[in-house]
């Protein structure tokens, strides 16, 4: 997400599940949908069955997705950028890009400042002590008119496209093979398939998930694909797009509602400490167009922000108090899971509420998380299931070694009901908000998460009201207008997210005409206002619940064009648009690129098609308004300016634990701006002691650490194992089903060995390199066989932009061993 927004303007799956069936080429890389999204994978099957689509899988492992692919190529974990920059080089040097699209709809023609450079693995402005860039030079040349300079002829060597060509020139097929271990012939064959979509006739979809995210350069992995799809003209068209497959039914929803600690719902920014006043905050949010006439939709930021504040604080938010700006916390640093665990570990965190997160199992470096939890004064676990986190203080021998007597943490378990035992909405990967109904009552004393949170809030509020405190205002003034304050209904909350009209809104032309009545639901985010007369808890959701009813309950299977556009099924943000940037499915004059890929087109008076245009519906093509309306440029970005911390172009950096040096720039081996806590530097392993590359993943039989408590899932995949390439197993005398000990610089686990042809021994820098795969899922609580936490092994470093831990690439050693104490064997 942290790369899609800087590229396209919004951080979400650009197309949607049903649309996958329209693809001609499906590139699965950084994900394993057959395994992790088997139900969504049906659309891949549809594309193959009805569209003669080719499925390409690039993955360190020959996965279940690979099992049904037309073409598979292996690569070393953590080298996706080298691979994709190689593909980009291929299509650029062989002139396979969709030139007309690139010129019209990307910033290819924009001229970049002279000061911007890339040398020896670093972009301009690096400060080694801060491990950060000063990103001021990563910018366009701005003309006297205040607009960015462009050269439509692309003659200027400082044009983005020319800089990009120079940047990727190093990634020859030979270099790709050397770094990734992907055989050159397979790499080139994949390049040909990808290149076959660089025209308006065919399209490629990219399906990825956490295989790209969970790296120290995760955002840049995705960024590569975003750029590639732009070069091919595959954005905004049916069967195209960069499609993040979300691993939970509602991950998109939680992201939309302010997942990151620096964000508010609807991707508004939570102010930082540097923004002490409302004016400070708004100053950086003006988003003036960078090209003439562009939409630059974020110019409306204030309308959304004020409406949000009104939803939060109601009458307490006034123009006079800057809409209660002071009520918002101001962040000093992002608090991602690694930072929180590190803070616990440092003894600087008193209490923790773990809601629906089994942090002991799910955090990288389990040993550190375990020590951290033991330093808390109190821990509240809100979960439908018994979790290891709630039981962290129990000694389970080598599965969880802890001296229980010394743990002083008070653990409080609040049983939540499961999703089927409450009503509410899911927002799926395709941004479709769908209502779900309650199917049964929760077990025992369980309550819905909503009820639990409300219970905590109402009690705190009463305490603050009674006892006061340093600054009780945000809590006692929080808008809480629910029929039953202790148990708000999901219906009420969804209405609140949509937003209400607070005062009658009159037609400026005719003051007698009331456009929106006070007390009604806001029909769409276009109606939100910065004057405090509207509310919206999450502006992008506005329109999901209107006076016409709860749109998320719609279940029409009408698909008039057969393109999988079910306009009356649920509600898709924004504004019920199924494919984002869909204006780009037509050329600059508004004509579809091809009849095969016809989607949104100009009919002479308006933009029409099966979907809601992502564009002014009557804006004429001649107006030259770009299709990427969120960006001030109006076009998408091949060069992201300063919007990403680690560079406007992606660059291959080795994982923090790598078996080889970075052959492109030895001195800058891994991501130079990825955050590493001081203590953790010494906990990175080197190839001399840990010679094998390891990666972790989910299995289709299980869902994270949840289903191991469920008998059927436990039957289908009962016990932790590691997958070893045959050559490694032979070297070590390990047979199928033997016990192995796998160790990293941070700890060791024991598990069964699955010896397989599906894990490769790759030739990296000329040397054979074994790749070991370890699924997650097992622990010391549940119905499945007791097992070690796989995250005992994983490194404590995250992505430079969003700090997602590097679960996918690290170093281990493998030895044959015997069963762990207390583990029965066959």
């Amino acid at each position: 997400m942290a790369s899609l927004a800087p590229t396209f303007g919004r951080g979400a799956m650009t197309n949607h599940w049903n649309d996958i069936k329209n693809a001609d080429v499906i590139l699965v890389m950084g994900g394993n949908p057959a395994e992790a999204h088997p139900c969504g994978f049906k659309w891949v099957t549809e594309a193959k069955a009805h569209n003669k689509a080719k499925l390409i899988v690039v993955d360190p492992r020959f996965t279940r997705s690979a099992a049904v692919s037309d073409l598979y190529a292996p690569l070393r974990p953590g080298t996706d950028i080298a691979f994709l920059l190689g593909v980009m080089r291929h299509i650029l040097t062989n002139d396979k890009i969709h030139t007309e699209y690139v010129k019209a709809f990307t910033n290819a023609t924009f001229i970049v400042r002279e000061g911007f450079k890339f040398e020896n693995g670093l972009f301009t402005g690096y400060d080694e002590t801060k491990r950060d860039y000063a990103r001021g030079e990563w910018e366009y040349e701005i003309g006297e008119d205040g607009f960015a300079k462009v050269d439509p002829t692309l003659a200027n060597p400082r044009c983005v496209l020319n800089l990009l060509k120079a940047h990727v020139e190093r990634y020859t097929p030979e270099t790709v093979e050397k770094i990734c271990g992907t055989p050159k012939d397979k790499f080139l064959k994949i390049c040909e398939h990808v290149a076959s979509t660089g025209n308006g006739e065919r399209s490629m979809t990219s399906l990825y998930a956490l295989g790209w995210t969970q790296h120290s350069h995760g955002a840049q992995n995705i960024r590569c694909m975003a750029m590639l799809q732009l070069l091919l003209g595959n954005m905004g068209v049916p069967g195209g797009g960069v499609n993040a497959l979300r691993g939970h039914a509602n991950v998109q929803g939680i992201t939309d509602l302010g997942l990151l600690t620096t964000a508010l719902p609807g991707y508004l920014a939570l102010p930082s400490q540097a923004e002490a006043t409302y004016a400070d905050h708004m100053k950086t949010r003006r988003f003036k167009p960078l090209r003439p006439g562009q939409t630059s939709f974020w110019q409306n930021y204030e309308k959304f922000f004020v409406s949000f504040q009104k939803a939060m604080f109601g009458q307490a938010a006034t123009k006079e108090n800057d809409w209660a700006y002071d009520y918002l916390p101001k962040w000093d640093t992002p608090y991602d899971v690694l930072k929180i665990v590190d803070t616990m570990y440092e003894g600087k965190l008193n209490g923790c509420i773990a809601q629906g997160l089994n942090v002991l199992m799910a955090s990288a470096h389990k040993g550190k998380a375990l020590q951290g939890l033991a330093k808390l004064k109190w821990l509240v676990v809100i979960d439908p299931l018994e979790t290891e986190t709630a039981r962290f203080w129990e000694n389970h021998g080598e599965f969880n070694e802890i001296d229980s007597a010394k743990v002083q943490t008070e653990v409080i378990q609040l049983p939540a009901c499961t999703v089927a035992e409450e009503e509410g909405t899911f927002t799926n990967s395709g941004r479709n908000i769908q209502w779900h109904w309650k199917a049964a009552n929760g077990a025992g004393e369980s309550r819905s998460d909503l009820e639990i949170m409300a219970g905590i809030h109402t009690r705190l509020r009463a305490l603050y009201a009674k006892e006061g405190g340093a600054f009780p205002d945000p809590i006692v003034n929080l808008s809480w207008n629910y029929a039953r304050p202790e148990a708000p209904s999901a219906d009420e909350v969804l209405r609140e997210l949509n937003g209400y009209v607070l005062e009658d809104v009159k037609d400026p032309q005719d003051p007698n005409k009331v456009l929106m009545r006070a007390g009604t639901l806001v029909p769409g985010f276009g109606a939100l206002r910065a004057d405090g007369t509207t509310t919206s808890g999450c502006w992008i959701y506005t329109g999901c619940y209107t006076e016409a009813g709860n749109m998320t309950m719609r279940r029409s299977t009408d698909d008039p064009t057969g393109l999988g556009v079910y306009q009356n099924w649920g509600f898709v943000w924004p504004a019920n648009r199924r494919i984002l940037y869909n204006r780009a499915s037509a050329d600059a004059s508004g004509k579809p690129w091809s009849t095969r890929k016809k989607y949104i087109a100009w009919n002479g008076s308006r933009w029409t098609g099966p979907d809601v245009p992502d564009y002014g519906p009557t804006v004429k093509p001649e107006a030259s308004v770009g299709p990427f309306i969120m960006n001030p440029e109006g076009v998408s970005r091949l060069f992201t300016r300063g919007l990403m911390r680690d560079g406007p172009f992606p660059e291959h950096y080795e994982p923090f634990e790598s078996p080889v040096a970075n052959s492109l720039h030895e001195k800058v081996a891994s991501n130079p701006v990825a955050r590493v806590f001081k203590e953790d530097w010494k906990e990175f392993g080197k190839a001399d002691k840990f010679p094998y590359v390891a990666t972790t993943y989910r299995l289709t039989e299980h869902f994270h650490y949840w289903t191991k408590t469920h008998l059927i899932n436990a039957i289908l995949q009962p016990e932790l194992f590691a997958e070893l390439p045959e050559a490694l197993a032979k070297e070590k005398g390990i047979g199928p089903g033997d016990w192995v000990r796998i160790s990293s610089a941070r700890g060791a686990i024991k598990c069964k060995a699955v010896v397989t042809k599906r894990l490769p021994t790759l030739t990296i820098h000329g040397k054979p390199t074994h790749v070991v795969g370890i699924p997650i899922h097992y622990g010391f609580v549940g119905t499945a066989r007791k097992g070690h936490a796989t995250n005992t092994l994983t490194p404590f470093v995250g992505d430079a932009n969003v700090n997602t831990p590097e679960y996918k690439a690290f170093l281990v050693n493998v030895e044959k061993t015997t069963a762990p104490a207390g583990a029965p064997s066959v």
């Binding site: 088997p38 049906k42 099957t45 049904v68 039957i715 932790l720 042809k757």
Partner: protein, 296 residues
């Protein structure tokens, strides 16, 4: 699917009575398992456990993805995973194993218990547990090694093709659960027609030997596979090439039975007539006297 409903019985184990056949227009059903579309997610296994209310014990990892390790009284279907190195291109062949519902079922042929195994007009071969005596002859009769005898109740178990669901117009639970439509269910004719389309697609994708597995040796099956390598079914975790009921089983359950009974009857009859014709072999007075002479 109402036309697939008939539960008239076509064949019944260990029965000499002729089956009813006035209603002879039942449509034969089939399940088509498209191995080339299967992702091995085991949703079919989970659905089978759920629908049939089966719960296996939690097992162990034995070094492979196949879990449970084998078919059992509580595991009627099982994904079997095979890694196949096809001239440098790895293939992961995943076959859903289970009863094939043969048109000429070896289990039914071998079964000595009347009505313990039946075949419906629609082709489904079903075990009727209350008639099962647990002898294990079905295991010996099956060319695909499918039935399993329970240690708990000494009854044989296997996939029923969800005959209960089919009887009310529903597809089997596994087909219903399959996310990639690798499992199709319908009339056998429709399934063959669909398979032909799939085979054309597979051939276009370079699988020159793609084909349908509907082995004639057992009269065809009501569970069929689309295979990428139909010329080598053994690749798929030992799917038999040209399976048929073992000649030993045919010998045992075929001519032997009437001939043996006839032979036994004949022996008794011969003895009877010998007696009638020759009379008893009795000790004569002379014998007694001679015996007396020495036996004193």
């Amino acid at each position: 699917m109402a036309t697939l409903q008939s539960l008239d019985i076509k064949r019944r184990s260990a029965t000499t009575e002729p089956p009813p056949h006035v209603r002879g227009n039942a449509i034969e059903v089939a399940k088509l398992i498209d191995v080339s579309k299967c992702i091995g997610c085991k949703a079919c296994q989970a659905a089978c456990l759920e629908w049939n209310d089966l719960r296996e014990e939690v097992g162990y990892n034995t070094g492979v993805y196949d879990n449970p390790a084998d078919l059992s009284p509580a595991t009627w279907t099982l994904m079997r995973f095979t890694e196949f190195d096809n001239k440098g291109n790895l293939e992961w062949l995943i076959r859903k194993d289970g009863c094939m519902h043969c048109e000429d079922p070896g289990c039914l042929k071998a079964c000595p218990a009347p009505g313990a195994i039946v075949q419906y007009q629609n082709g489904i071969v079903d075990f009727v547990s209350e008639n099962c005596i647990g002898c294990g002859y079905c295991v010996k009769g099956c060319p695909f090694n499918i039935p399993r005898i329970s240690q708990a109740d000494n009854k044989a178990y296997k996939c029923t093709l969800c005959s209960d669901r089919v009887a009310v117009g529903q597809a089997p639970a596994c087909a219903k659960a399959c996310p990639t439509q690798a499992i199709y269910f319908g009339s056998k004719d429709d399934m063959i027609a669909h398979a032909e389309e799939r085979i054309v697609d597979l051939k276009e994708r370079g699988y020159a030997n793609a084909g349908l597995y509907d082995p004639k040796g057992v009269g065809g099956t009501h569970v069929m596979y689309v295979l990428h390598h139909a010329d080598q079914p053994e690749l798929y975790a030992g799917l038999p090439n040209e399976p048929r009921i073992s000649r030993l089983v045919e010998l045992w359950k075929g001519g032997t039975k009437p001939l043996a009974l006839a032979g036994i009857g004949l022996a008794a009859v011969v003895g009877f007539f010998h007696y009638i014709v020759k009379g008893p072999n009795e000790v004569t007075e002379e014998d007694d006297e001679r015996a007396d002479q020495i036996n004193r």
